[in-house]
Amino acid sequence: MTKISNDNTQRKAVALVSGGLDSMLAVKVLQEQGVHVEGINFFTGFCVEGHTHAIRKKDRDKPKRNNALWVAEQLGIKLHILDISEDYKDVVINPKHGYGANLNPCLDCKGFMVKQAMSWMEKNDFDFLITGEVMGQRPMSQRKDTMPVVSRESGAGDLLLRPLCAKLLPETLPEREGWVDRDQLLDFSGRNRKPQMALAEKFGFKEYAQPAGGCCFLTDANYSSKLADLWQARGEKTYEIDDIVMLKVGRHLRPKPHFKLIIAREEGETNFLRGYRKNYISLNTVSHSGPISLIDGEADEEDIELAARLVARFCSGRNADLVTVNVIQKNGESRDIDVKPLTADEIPQEWYV
């Protein structure tokens, strides 16, 4: 069925597609009404994607896919992936509405993404926006009192339609204009996923992603603690994309306030960190097999020796009297030093970030 409005135009909606079930359903609900839908997916730098772990060799055999692309393909829609990582920094660093349980600025984030989608919509001559939001499903951004905040602060106003809970919200422009039929929209609320699963079954969706902790690393306590450590060490809340990528990789230990070590946990991470050697002082055990490690921060000779002793602890020579560690400076200058590996007792738990 093609929905034709009074002026005989098929209406076009842009959907925020995360790759999860809710946005998949929201798109399908609109497609069923004959609306032309295309998807937008945002790269913030903090996105959780299965193949972020592709750098870990042990995960290589598991199927990797970008769920947003997969969903778009299932729905037969185009997907536009936008890199908003640079502008997104201000959302993470200065969230007007504060953080959630961790460093997740969910309400500011949603408003920012809708605003970006609005801008895309206007540039590409689309008529309105949709999201897969369900009232009461998320503690910050999907509450009855905060959903209007997103509409208002993003500038989308009543051009923002949430098909899965539209009946619980005031009528939007697409409904008033008859571009979509409000009666065929839904009234989902709360954290119970059964209505979504029933609708998925009705639409014949046999497979869909069910992200356990949302789609953002900032909701993860361990990741947030590494980011907080980074800000504390620098004395200011700033980051570059390489910084936040590095927080996803390796073991992080901070023996001194002014530097930390990123130690690969396995071969895949070693290969990945190898690509960053020009940006950091790198250490690699040569007398024994072991992981590559990078020093993030400014390290003097004493610090480098401590770092080398720490790296030696994580190599196969941890019980040897001496381990030879190759140290490569950022300018490529290379030398070997012999160090005694730290014992387990010499590594305080608080060094682990």
Binding site: H51, K64, K248, F272
Partner: protein
Amino acid sequence: MSEPVLDARNLLCPLPVIRTQNQVEKMNAGDTLCVQCTDHGVINDIPAWCRINGHEILSIDEQEYEIIIRLRVGKGS
């Protein structure tokens, strides 16, 4: 004219897809592009992105550390 090569090494998905998307936007139908990557996720993602957007994968060369993908830009770009 020689085939353009896009260096997307040391980028994690979806960045290689985004860089490919942005490069293809500047190209014409029928042009070919070679993308160098290190994230093995691209083996699924770049072909999926091509299928959605009407581009053609010409080859995927999976090496130990790198993946080289060649594609031809479709008419829909």
